[in-house]
């Protein structure tokens, strides 16, 4: 009856006598162990069966015959079930087997034999490894924007769960293939892996399997790689020697693919484990490759964007203030935070000399970030060019208005344009908050009166104001970002600005700007700015 019961069980069941000889095996056990008949199994010693496989526990530690649960049970021990990772040497087939052994005892408690059940957990463990590899890749790919490091991490995820060796190559700008990461399961072989990584970038012959993968986007699988195939992959004798030393059994090359193209290949190989890759392994490697490729592409884009940002900032930020003979100047420029980490904004200023006289333009293009900043470049350069045609603040604003109306769509610009003299200033406003003149005793004046904003009205013109000034008086230009800066108690406001400036009659422009910056910081409680802020303070040095 037991026989019939065991025969229909899916699990493999064997019974051994106290000497280890197999007295019974069900059909599943014969199948599992690769025998056609019980007699065949009975005439093959257990150690010889064991020899057919590479057997490890789940931590990758070799399992010897003496450690098998059945053998330990016959020795009188009560072993825990043992999960074994086996690779059949002949075929390279990987299996996960849970072995449970129970002692059969007589009435006196003496061991009569061992009943062993072998459960095939290959499907379960493969799924677990697959999930583990993908989960680990998700974690590591999102941790760094240094893509060389990302790829080293990917290689380390692939080894040893998926392969004994993993190398990652990227196509560089010139179409050469460069090995950027390599990892080997065996620390003693890591040196060899590193030496492969140290090879200079190479152009691959079209017949090289990696070149085929790059061209077709289709993975290549060599279940049992031959020396002939190693030769095809080798660049030279030294390389071939290294490949032979690695002695791969099974090898696959999968593409690193982003939507638009293939950026490299990942090579995975087995050696010591003697495992043979199957199509499921290729699929998992391809998934890992896709994720790595996206991470690399993102990291590269980020790096490029950072380069672009630096270049743009160079063009779009206000230039450093020039040295104007007889004048002291200081400025504050704080662009609002934007999504792109490009610290430019719509506020601008520019001071330039024409025919021995100094001019300045100070303003604010509506909007924020790069878009607004690109128009500030137009305004700054436009003012310089316009000044050469007609060196009058109102005329300069008129040219800037034309440029703004042509270029900007619906963006507007407010600006002050001024011509600096020691005893007076000619100043014109295009809808910009007035400049504040601070006398040495703290008295305040605001100039000039308003004019139309730039880029809004086709028939506009700008009044010019002649403002007498005594050397020693401080003049402060600011953008609305200063007075509109929000804090816990409303907005910073013009009153607060005036009050602050009124106390700064004797301070240097640099000290005034520094003080204002500190006050703004205190007002916002150190929060990010929501609008651009710019300030320029200047004072004619007393003769």
């Amino acid at each position: 009856m037991f026989n019939e019961l065991f025969q229909v069980l899916a699990e493999a069941v064997t019974v051994q006598d106290p000497d280890g000889a197999v007295v019974y095996a069900n059909a599943a056990a014969l199948r599992y162990l690769g025998f056609d008949s019980l007699e065949q199994l009975q005439t093959t010693p257990g150690t010889a069966i064991m020899e057919r496989y590479l057997v490890e526990d789940e931590h990758g530690v070799a399992v010897s015959y003496d450690q098998l649960p059945s053998v330990r049970t016959l020795r009188g021990e009560s072993p825990e079930p043992l999960l074994m990772r086996t690779v059949e040497r002949a075929t390279g087939e990987l299996r996960w087997t849970l072995s449970k052994a129970t002692a059969l005892r007589d009435d006196d408690g003496d061991v009569l034999g061992a009943l062993t059940v072998l459960e095939d957990l290959t499907a379960v463990k493969s799924a677990e490894i697959r999930t583990g590899v993908l989960a680990a890749s998700g974690r590591i790919l999102s941790t760094t924007l240094d893509y060389h490091k990302t790829l080293r991490n990917v290689a380390e995820v692939a080894v040893p769960s998926l392969a004994d060796y993993c190398g990652v190559d990227l196509v560089d700008m010139g179409g050469l293939l460069e090995r950027v990461a390599a990892c080997h399961r065996d620390p003693d072989q890591q040196g060899l892996a590193d030496s492969l990584r140290g090879l200079p970038p190479a152009y691959l012959q079209p017949l090289h399997p990696a070149a085929r993968v790059l061209a077709s986007g289709t993975s290549e699988l060599f279940e049992e790689i031959t020396d002939e195939q190693l030769r095809e992959m080798a660049r030279d004798e030294g390389h071939l020697q290294a490949l032979r030393e690695l002695a791969p059994r099974s090898l696959m090359i999968v593409p690193l693919r982003v939507p638009s193209r293939i950026i490299g290949v990942m090579t995975l190989a087995t050696d010591a484990s003697r495992r043979r890759f199957v199509t499921d392994d290729v699929e998992l490697a391809e998934q890992l490759g896709r994720r790595a490729a996206v991470a690399v592409e993102n990291a590269r884009l980020h790096t490029k964007l950072a380069d672009v940002a630096v270049t743009l900032q160079g063009v779009l930020l206000p230039r450093e203030l020039p040295q104007i003979p007889g004048w002291e100047l200081a400025s504050l420029y704080r662009p609002a935070e934007t999504d792109l980490r490009i610290d430019v904004g719509g506020d601008f200023y520019e001071f330039f000399e024409h025919g021995g006289t100094w001019f300045g333009v100070f303003g604010d293009v509506t909007g924020k970030g790069v878009q607004a900043a690109s128009l500030t470049a137009l305004m700054r350069t436009g003012a310089r060019v316009a000044c050469r045609m007609e060196a009058q603040p109102a005329a300069i604003l008129s040219r800037l208005d034309e440029a703004m109306a042509q270029e900007s769509g619906k963006a507007l610009c407010t600006a002050l344009c001024m011509c600096l003299h020691r005893d007076h200033m000619v100043i014109s406003s295009a809808g910009h908050p007035p400049a504040i003149i601070v006398s040495e005793d703290g008295g305040l004046r605001e100039v000039p009166t308003a004019g139309p904003v730039l880029g809004a009205f086709p028939d506009a013109s700008w009044p010019e104001e002649n403002v007498p000034m005594t050397p020693g008086e401080l003049i402060v230009f600011y953008t609305d970002g200063v007075i509109e800066t929000p804090g816990d108690v409303g907005r910073f406001g013009a009153d607060r600005l005036r009050e602050l400036l009124s106390s700064q009659g004797n301070a240097s422009p640099a000290a005034v700007v520094e003080r204002l910056d500190a006050e703004l910081n205190a007002f916002t409680g150190g929060a990010m700015l929501t609008d651009d802020v710019a300030v320029v303070a200047l004072r004619a040095r007393p003769a």
Partner: protein, 96 residues
């Protein structure tokens, strides 16, 4: 008629732009700023764009004046002189 309240700035201007674009079948567009607490330059640019758009379409465009901050900015930027600005909605309606 579009009546605005709260703050018209970088964050909220897109909504007004959308509303102006969606308004149809009328011969006069009124934007009422009387309940508006704050306007910035981006908000102004939407008013200017509406002004230019209505002008091109041959329609009337009027603004009802807002509180002091709004008034100050309309005056400063020259919009007050160039747009039709009424002190109250009633004034606008009685003037026809």
């Amino acid at each position: 008629m579009l009546k605005l309240s709260g703050e018209l700035d970088v964050a909220s201007s897109a909504t007004l732009e959308q509303s102006v674009a969606e308004a149809a079948d009328y011969d006069r567009l009124v934007i009422d700023l009387s309940d508006l607490q704050f306007i910035d330059s981006t908000g102004l640019s939407v008013l200017v764009a509406a002004h230019q758009h209505e002008l091109a379409a041959g329609r009337d465009f009027c603004v009802v004046q807002g509180p002091s901050q709004v008034q100050r900015l309309l005056a400063l930027t020259g919009l007050e002189q160039r747009l039709t600005v009424a002190d109250t909605l009633e004034q606008l309606l009685t003037s026809g």
